[in-house]
């Protein structure tokens, strides 16, 4: 069972991400957050196998959440793979995401296969 935290202000995207993961063969237990604050309240080191996060969200955005989540992990000895799925697609933005602690970034729209391939790589690395 893949425990996933999905942070996206769009319910449609949260539904689509879960559907995509199931489509590529994962059994999924999803916790959902509407923004960075909600995601951070749910996030604990080692609690999730994967975090999927959007960039643009009202309140705390995805980048701020990732920075805060990585801080929470300091000293815990655990690093949760974080996959950012966002409309932001310039090189500068990709670099900023990586610096914040994002492990992989996919640009919307994403196919289930693209999510599956990214996840396989992240889980192999974890």
């Amino acid at each position: 069972m893949l425990k996933v935290l999905i942070a996206d202000d769009s319910k449609m995207m949260r539904v689509m991400h879960v559907r995509s993961l199931r489509q590529v063969g994962y059994e999924v237990e999803a916790s959902e957050a509407n923004n960075g604050e909600e995601a951070l309240a749910l996030f604990e080191p080692g609690k999730f196998d994967l975090v999927i996060v959007d960039w643009n969200m009202p309140g705390m955005d995805g980048i701020e959440f990732v920075r805060a989540a990585r801080e929470k992990e300091q000293g815990a000895g655990k690093r949760t793979p974080i996959l950012m799925i966002t409309s932001q697609s310039t090189e500068e933005q990709m670099l900023k995401a990586k610096e914040a602690g994002v492990d992989n970034l996919l640009t919307k729209p994403v196919t289930p296969e693209a999510i599956g391939a990214a996840l396989e790589m992240l889980l192999a690395r974890a």
Binding site: D9, S10, K11, M12, M13, V15, M16, R19, N56, M57, P58, T86, S87, Q88, S89, T90, E92, T107, K108, P109, V110, T111
Partner: protein
């Protein structure tokens, strides 16, 4: 300088190309069907769409313009596209429909952002906003620096949507 580039893209017709490409790139993978560009959208609308979502765009390459990306359509057309994405048909102009249209517009704005970055325009995207009953909204007024296209999604009822980008010096 940046605004001059947008005006040049508008005059040369490249902006129309960018928007058409962005619409296909955003909608085809999501809907799993072909999307055709029918041509430039006539603006201002004689019959404004019921639903429209906007993403504000800010020039981050040194000032020069503010812009908006929008996606609009009749309620039935928006519902047909949302149904494919959600797996169920929204009930009228409910939160599900609004969420789907906002998110689609956000994805479209990201694709347009990528095309404009290829000609040196760096843009930041705001959060998408859904506007209901957009009769008073005349985004066509600022098309001196902008363009809009009408696209048809290859679903059984062939829904058509309008996608546009309009900029002003700011």
């Amino acid at each position: 300088m940046s605004h001059a580039i947008v005006q040049d893209l508008t005059t040369s017709g490249r902006l129309v190309e960018f928007i058409g490409q962005a619409a296909r790139e955003a909608l085809e993978p999501l809907c799993g069907v072909e999307v055709s560009v029918l041509g430039e959208a006539e603006l201002p609308w004689a019959h404004p769409p019921v639903g429209i979502a906007l993403v504000t765009v800010v020039d981050t390459s040194g000032g020069g313009f503010q812009a908006v990306v929008w996606l609009g359509g009749e309620l039935e057309a928006l519902a047909s596209v949302a149904e494919v994405l959600l797996g169920e048909r929204p009930d009228g102009e409910d939160e599900m429909l609004q969420d789907a249209v906002r998110e689609l517009t956000n994805i479209l704005a990201g694709q347009i952002q990528r095309h404009l970055a290829s000609v040196g325009l760096q843009m930041g995207l705001g959060l998408p906003v859904y506007v209901s009953g957009a009769k008073s909204l005349n985004v066509g007024a600022s098309l001196a620096s902008g363009a809009a296209v009408r696209v048809q999604v290859g679903l059984p009822d062939a829904p058509t949507l309008d996608v546009g980008f309009a900029a002003k010096e700011g």
